[in-house]
């Protein structure tokens, strides 16, 4: 059997790998701190304004870190908003700057066009979905390139969910809204922006869960090694048989 080094082939470029892991760090920080901030007011509204004196669109049935919020629970959680807000915005900068580097690199090198634009026929999608349903292992080609479903999912995250989460986040900034009122007005108001920010977060979490599940399914060790070292085994299923 061939040794790992000479059976490997290049998989992910260094820019893709570094930006991938920076995004992981930023996203986890944003998620944890975002949850902490929501806990201080687990009520959601639609439109411009909303507070404990107005009817909510929906509430999360969890205790709050503020005793001014009627939750039905006697317990008031400790206030974590100070550091959560600091870290949320610092991690947001990390995510946006990382996204800029990745986006410019991908335009420059044709990564979007070559590796992420799916074939424009449904057969490619049907084939992948069929394989998912049979729970079959990925074929050889997928060790070196993304399949049609992956491409569609990644493009959705990069060009739909990521811009939406940044937009709905910025729309909650009173200073940003002063400079760009359309940012919040187009979303239907500040509280609508907050509610949308919450839903887009869950869409991103759903992506994360499916993404990790698929990595495990495809071969956790080979996929992790490819995203860390940049190299994939030529025979993708080889290590699984070792």
């Amino acid at each position: 059997m061939a040794s790992a080094t000479n059976s490997d082939s290049p998989r992910h470029s260094v820019v893709v790998r570094v930006t991938h892991w920076l995004t992981v760090v930023a996203f986890l920080a944003l998620l944890v701190t975002g949850i902490e901030i929501v806990i201080s007011h687990p009520r959601f509204y639609w439109g411009e304004t909303g507070n404990v004196n107005t009817p909510p669109l929906f509430t999360l049935h969890i205790p709050s870190s503020r005793d001014t919020v009627p939750t039905g629970y006697k317990v008031v959680l400790p206030d974590q908003n100070g550091w959560s807000r600091y870290l949320h915005f610092e991690a947001a900068w990390l995510a946006v700057l990382t996204g800029l580097v990745y986006g410019l690199y991908s335009l420059w090198t044709g990564h979007f066009r070559k590796d992420l634009l799916p074939e424009r026929n449904w057969q490619a999608f049907r084939r992948v979905i069929g394989r998912y349903l049979r729970r079959a292992k990925p074929d050889e080609a997928e060790a070196h390139s993304y399949n049609a479903m992956q491409r569609a999912a990644y493009l959705t995250v990069i060009f739909v969910l990521f811009p939406l989460i940044v937009w709905t986040g910025l729309a909650m900034s009173p200073a940003f809204d002063a400079a760009v009122p359309a940012a919040v007005n187009l979303l239907g108001g500040r509280q609508s922006a907050r509610t949308l920010h919450f839903f887009v977060t869950w869409a991103l979490v759903l992506f994360l869960v499916v993404h990790v599940a698929m990595v495990v399914h495809a071969g956790f060790r080979s996929r992790m090694r490819a995203m860390i070292t940049g190299r994939a085994p030529v025979n993708i299923n080889e290590e699984e048989h070792v």
């Binding site: 411009e48 550091w83 610092e90 940003f176």
Partner: protein, 252 residues
């Protein structure tokens, strides 16, 4: 050492030098134009400085959204305040006639204003939204004296960089940079929705900063101090908020 690794070393050196020079230049420009917040230190300082600097460049002269009368919230939420102290109760019993705003520090003419004297300065009313960092909000009409009218009356010295404001509530103070202090919507508020500003909402005198979050809108203002540095106020972080973990700048 082969020529390839020498070239890489050279390129790396040039990139690193250019990077450091760029950072140094950015730092001096940021200091020159007041783009560095007082709480710029520590692990979160980098993100905080980026946010404050970027928003200062983007929003220096922009106005907070103002709303139509029909958008005024019928059920505003005052949030919690500590029970008033005896001094406050005494002034309240007198209808706040003896409430004074003391203005000192780096100004040409330190002065003290009664509420009536503040009302004799040009007034402004605006319908803006109060936004709490927790996520809730309401819209009200706010009537009062723009802070810049008070500053014009006392004449800040050229080196002034911050206006510090103190509340009658214990250990409650904050500060604004001069851009925010001179902003036309920054209001020493005495009226709300066509009446006097109610005590739970900060009456008789509240700082309204509609481009920043609710916690910058300190209630029960009794004193303003103009200064060139926040170093000697509390722990030098710009307000009491960073001492409890909250950022000094609250535009986001």
């Amino acid at each position: 050492m082969n020529s390839l690794s020498r070239r890489r070393l050279l390129t790396g050196g040039i990139v690193a030098t250019a990077g450091l020079a760029g950072l140094a230049a950015a730092d001096s420009v940021a200091k020159r134009y007041g783009l560095i917040p007082p709480d710029h230190g520590g692990f979160y300082g980098c993100g905080e400085t980026l946010t404050y600097g970027a928003q200062r460049i983007l929003t220096r002269n922009s106005l907070a959204r103002e709303f139509s009368r029909g958008m005024i919230s019928k059920t505003p939420f005052a949030n919690e305040v500590a029970p008033p102290n005896d001094q406050f109760k005494g002034l309240q019993a007198g209808g706040f006639r003896d409430w004074h705003l003391q203005v000192d520090g780096m100004v040409a003419n330190p002065a003290s204003f009664s509420l009536a004297e503040l009302k004799s300065l040009p007034q402004r009313g605006q319908i803006t939204e109060v936004v709490c960092e927790e996520g809730w909000s309401y819209i009200a009409e706010w009537i009062g004296t723009p802070l810049r009218e008070v500053l014009n009356a006392v004449g800040p010295l050229p080196q002034a960089r911050f206006v510090v404001y103190f509340s009658m509530e214990r250990n409650t103070w904050d500060s604004l940079d001069m851009a925010e202090a001179h902003h036309p919507q920054t209001l020493l508020t005495m009226g709300m929705n066509d009446g006097d500003l109610p005590v739970p909402f900060g009456g008789p005198l509240r700082m309204r900063v509609p481009r920043q979050l609710g916690y910058k809108n300190v209630k029960y203002i009794t004193r303003l101090t103009v200064t060139d540095s926040m170093k000697h106020f509390g722990k030098g972080l710009g307000s009491v908020d960073p001492e409890y973990g909250y950022s000094w700048y609250a535009g986001i």
